[in-house]
Symmetry: C2
Subunit: 302 residues, 2 copies
C-alpha cells in the first residue's frame, strides 16, 4: 500500500562531538522515505533547488521511492546547520536558509492521489490541509508538527488535526499543544481534537503511544555510540508508517509492532551522519534488531 509523504528535502550541515558533515542530504521527507521504503512504496512530495545534484538523488535510487512529486525550482535547496552539545542532548541551530522551501506549494501528481497512507511532515498546517484536499480517500492520515505552528497557527493546526488519525509529536510538543503537563492527560486532550492515536516521542527515553484507552510504552534501544541524532524522529515515523502500511489492519497489535519498527529504524539512523547508516542497511539487520527489542523488553508473567 503506497505512502504519500510531504516534507522537506534539504542539505544539512551538522556538527557533533564526533565530527562534522558539510551539506549532506537531510530533510524530513528524505529520512522518512528511505525508512518507509523498506516496507512499502513511497510517493515523495517536496522541493529542491537547482543546486541539488545527481549524487543526492542516488540515495533514493534502487528503492521503491517515486520522485515525480519532487519539484525542482530555480534557486537554492533548503539548508539547515546545527551543532550538538557534548552529550547530544541539545542542539543549537546555527542557520536555517529556507531558500526554495519558503515558496513550497505541494502539488500532488495525479498518480499519487490514490495513496492510502499519507504522512504530513512538519510544514504549515494550511499546506498540510491543501495536500489532504488533493488526495482521494486515504485510509490513514498521520501528521507531525512543531512548536512554531502550535503557537503561531493554533487555529489552522486544529483544523488540520480534525482530519488526522495519527499525530506524532515529542513530549514537549504534546504538552504545549494540550496545555497539560501529564502525558496521559495530554494525549486525551489531543485525541479530543481528532487523532485517534497519539504517538509521543521521548528521544532516548523511547515512545508512548495512546490509542483509544490503550497505552503502549517502548524504550529506545540503548546504544553505546550515538553519533548524530539528526533525522531520528522522521526515521521513526518512516519505519512506523511504512510497516503499518504493509499490515492488513491498523489494529492495536499492528500499531504496537509498528512503534517498535520505527524505534528499530531510528536506532540505526543515529549511528552515522545523514542517511548513511539507513542506506547501508539490510532487511536482515532490521529484523535482527527488532528481535533484540523483543528481548530488551521481555519479562514473564507471575
Amino acid at each position: 500500500m503506497a505512502i504519500l509523504v510531504v516534507g522537506s528535502v534539504a542539505y544539512d550541515t551538522v556538527e557533533t562531538p564526533f565530527g562534522r558533515a558539510e551539506r549532506v542530504l537531510g530533510g524530513s521527507a528524505s529520512f522518512f522515505a528511505v525508512a518507509a521504503a523498506f516496507f512499502s512504496p513511497v510517493n515523495l512530495v517536496g522541493v529542491v533547488g537547482s543546486d541539488f545534484g545527481e549524487e543526492q538523488l542516488r540515495a533514493f535510487a534502487g528503492r521503491p521511492i517515486d520522485l515525480e512529486g519532487l519539484e525542482r525550482m530555480q534557486g537554492k535547496t533548503f539548508h539547515w546547520q546545527g551543532k550538538y552539545s557534548w552529550d547530544l542532548n541539545s542542539r543549537d541551530t546555527i542557520c536555517t536558509e529556507l531558500n526554495v522551501f519558503e515558496f513550497f506549494k505541494p502539488k500532488i501528481p495525479a498518480r499519487y492521489r490514490g495513496s492510502e497512507v499519507v504522512f504530513l511532515g512538519n510544514i504549515d498546517p494550511v499546506l498540510q490541509r491543501e495536500v489532504l484536499d488533493q488526495v482521494q480517500a486515504p485510509r490513514i492520515v498521520a501528521c507531525d508538527t512543531m512548536n512554531f505552528w502550535i503557537h503561531g497557527k493554533a487555529e489552522e493546526l486544529r483544523r488540520t488535526l480534525a482530519k488526522v488519525q495519527v499525530l506524532l509529536v515529542n513530549d514537549a510538543e504534546a504538552r504545549e499543544l494540550s496545555g497539560e503537563w501529564n502525558l496521559v492527560k495530554a494525549a486525551r486532550a489531543i485525541r479530543a481534537l481528532g487523532p485517534h492515536t497519539v504517538v509521543v516521542k521521548k528521544g532516548e527515553h523511547g515512545v508512548l503511544m495512546f490509542h483509544g484507552e490503550d497505552c503502549f510504552a517502548a524504550p529506545a534501544y540503548p546504544l553505546e555510540n550515538v553519533f548524530d541524532p539528526t533525522g531520528a524522529g522522521d526515521t521513526f515515523a518512516g519505519g512506523f508508517l511504512g510497516y503499518l502500511a504493509g499490515c492488513p489492519r491498523a489494529d492495536d497489535e499492528a500499531l504496537r509492532r509498528a512503534i517498535v519498527m520505527g524505534s528499530t529504524l531510528a536506532s540505526f539512523s543515529v549511528e552515522a551522519f545523514s542517511l548513511d547508516r539507513l542506506l547501508a542497511l539490510s532487511r536482515a539487520e532490521i529484523d535482527a534488531r527488532y528481535r533484540l527489542f523483543k528481548r530488551l523488553t521481555s519479562f514473564e508473567t507471575i
Copy 2:
C-alpha cells in the same frame, strides 16, 4: 528468605502542588520495608528519636517486619522537609535535620546476621561496610548511594562497591559515578567496580537494568495523577529486592520480573503522601497492576 535493610526512618514534611503533609512517616528504610514485606520477611536496622510515636510504629505492625534493629536514641528523629515544583519534576530541600541520624552506628541484632539478602540504603559507605562486616554470608548484597558520597567519599564508596552485587542508582548518579555520559558505558564502568547488576532508575522514564551483557528496559507506569514522588526510589528497591528474595534463583528472568515488581510498587507509592497508599495496598492490586505492565509493554514478534 529474610532481607536486612539499613537506612533512614524519618519524619517528612512535604509540599506538592496538591497539598501539604506535616511530619509524616518517611525515610528510605520505611518505604523499602513496607514494599519488600509484601514478598519476604524484613529485618529493619535504623534509628529514631524519643519523639517517634506508637502511631508511626503502627505502619509496620501486622507485617513481617522485624523492628528489633530499630534503635531508639535520646533526641529527635531525622526530619526532612521538601517542596516540589508544579510539574513534580524537581524539588527543593527546605531543611534536613539529621538529629539522631547524625550519630547512627548500625548495630545488627544477632538474629539478623543470617539474613540472605541485604539492602544497604543510602548512608555513609563506611557504615555500609560496617553492616556487611556484621552479617554472615548474604546471597545478594544490594546498595544505594548518592552524589554526596560519590563526590565526598569516592574511595570509601569504591571499597564498598567491591563487596556489592547489585547497585541501584538514578541516571545522574550513574553518570557521575562512572564519568561516562552514555548509560551503556556507565553501567559497564560500574560493573568493573564490583556489582554484576546495575539498575539505573530514570523516574517517569522507567528503569534500565544491566546484568552482565544483558540489558532490560522497563517503563514507568503512565499514571494520570502523580501525587507525591517522595520515596518512589526506595519503594522500587523494596519491591525489587523483596520479590527477588522470594525467587529460588536470582537469574536473568527473576531479575526482570523483580524490576517490574519494583516499578509496580513505586507506581502505587506516588499516588498518596507518605506510605499511605502502600499501607492500604493488597496483593491482588499488586498482581493486577503487574499484569497491566505486561500489557503496557507487549508486542508480537514479526
